[in-house]
């Protein structure tokens, strides 16, 4: 039974094997649904030359912004990089290599990577700079761009609940890129808000089956909010 108990008890164990120049996927949309403790662990490890795949790059002092600040990321694959001054500075100076990718294409590249699909055609980006140098094809009168799949050495995922076997449940919009990334890492590490025993999660309600998951760690989250917007209480 121990073979399928994937819970580790330290962040060192959770990120063991990460080395310079690896490719990582990091779940989250803005600061929502990011694996905070796994990011902090990479900062303390000081791993360099990383290729990071994530929808955004965090903010200057939180999320992936921390890895940028310490110049640990060499290439960033993302769809949106606004609201991060460090990012913009490193990109404009050429210090950081940035591959901007449309959000839906990014999600599908990761989904495809996890599902063993090497590439797919999408209409997204046809006729734009994104399509430059890529194969295109006309199918039934529409134009499509061939987009290769993405995989990573490590996929870092935040889940709401995980059982000890790695069956995952996400919460609200904290799911975002996490479910696809969980499938596309050679090593998928889950930082969970709650770890429960097998059988406690309803199999009908599991978003990500445990087969994709290699390590699970109990996380503690700050859950910082990027744009706090409220209405007056009625």
């Amino acid at each position: 039974m121990a073979g399928l108990n994937k819970v580790v008890t330290s962040y060192e164990e959770a990120m063991a094997g990460l080395s310079d120049n690896m490719t990582i996927m990091v779940g989250g949309f803005g600061l929502c649904g990011i694996p905070e403790g796994l990011i902090a662990q990479m900062v303390s490890m000081g791993t360099k030359g990383l290729t990071a795949i994530s929808n955004n790059a965090g903010v200057d002092d939180f999320g992936l912004g921390l890895l940028l600040k310490h110049r640990q990321i060499e290439t960033m694959i993302a769809s949106y990089v606004g609201e991060n001054a460090t990012f913009e500075k490193q990109m404009l100076s050429g210090e950081l290599n940035v591959i901007l990718t449309p959000q839906g294409t990014l999600a599908e590249k990761i989904r495809a990577g996890g599902a063993g699909i090497p590439a797919f055609f999408t209409a997204t980006g046809f006729g734009t700079p994104i399509a430059e140098g890529k194969e295109t094809r006309e199918i039934e009168g529409r134009h499509y761009v061939l987009e290769p799949a993405l995989t990573a050495d490590f996929a870092l995922v935040r889940a709401w609940k995980s059982d000890t076997m790695g069956n995952l449940v996400f919460r609200k919009t904290a799911a975002n890129f996490n479910p696809m990334m969980a499938t596309a890492g050679k090593i998928t590490v889950v930082e969970a808000e709650h770890i429960v025993e097998p059988g406690e999660l309803d199999p009908d309600h599991i978003h990500t089956p445990g087969i994709y998951v290699n390590r699970i760690i109990q996380g503690v989250f700050e859950k910082r909010i990027e744009q706090r917007t409220v209405q007056a209480a009625v």
């Binding site: 929502c32 990089v81 606004g82 959000q103 839906g104 599908e108 734009t128 609200k172 696809m180």
Partner: protein, 218 residues
């Protein structure tokens, strides 16, 4: 008078139909949510993984796990669903969203749109905009007709890097509602008190003006 941002949102809201699933982009499009007629039921899609976006939360209901595509804290309405980014863009790319409203820097007579970068000045990234314009059939672009110096943003050909090629059929500016077809802008309505001459003068791309151009009703 040119339309205010709120009036633009109000005009767009007249295009909403009962039963629509709608994606509203950042900026003026977001304001459309404030003008949804009370007698129709629409569901707002937020591409970060929410169908059925509600109002901003009250202070005690803020949830860091519940945000919109502009990263603002929001709520979910009854009947809402949450899903992954891949699922979200399956909806968008697959043409399941009934109406998409988004902003732009420039638009041209071929229906091409530029909205994600100004070389040397600003790079924010395209986010979901490229997928939205490629996937949706029914799109309304909301934008200013001209910049502050009076330079038209409705061009014979976009000068900035494109978000989408030949995919926009309707544009609402602060001055006019136009359709784009057969390589020209076609004037449909003008903002209250705005003359056809002013619209002509601020439209760099070819503009077709019908005999009668009604004023918008707000």
């Amino acid at each position: 008078m040119a339309l205010t941002r709120e009036q633009m949102a109000q005009r767009v809201s007249q295009e909403l139909k009962d039963g629509f699933y709608v994606n509203l982009g950042i900026g003026i499009p977001t304001l459309v949510a404030n003008y949804i007629p009370h007698d129709i039921h629409v569901m707002l899609q937020s591409e970060n993984g929410l169908l059925g976006m509600g109002a901003f939360p009250t202070e005690d209901a803020i949830d860091a796990d519940l945000i919109n595509a502009g990263k603002q804290t929001v709520t979910a309405v009854d009947g809402a669903s949450f899903f992954s980014s891949a699922e979200s863009f399956a909806m968008i790319r697959g043409g399941h969203v009934d109406l998409t409203v988004l902003g732009a820097f420039e638009i041209d007579v071929e229906g091409s749109i530029a909205s994600w970068m100004i070389p040397g000045k600003l790079i924010k990234g395209m986010g979901g905009a490229m997928d939205l314009v490629a996937g949706a059939d029914n799109i309304i672009v909301t934008m200013m007709h001209a910049d502050k110096k009076g330079n038209s943003k409705l061009l014979p050909k976009c000068e900035l890097p494109l978000t989408g090629f030949g995919c926009i059929k309707r544009v609402l500016t602060d001055l006019a509602l136009m359709e784009i077809k057969d390589g020209a802008f076609h004037l449909v309505e003008r903002a209250p008190g705005v003359s056809v001459d002013e619209i002509k003068q601020k439209t760099a791309g070819q503009l077709i003006v019908p005999e009668h151009v009604p004023e918008m009703r707000l």
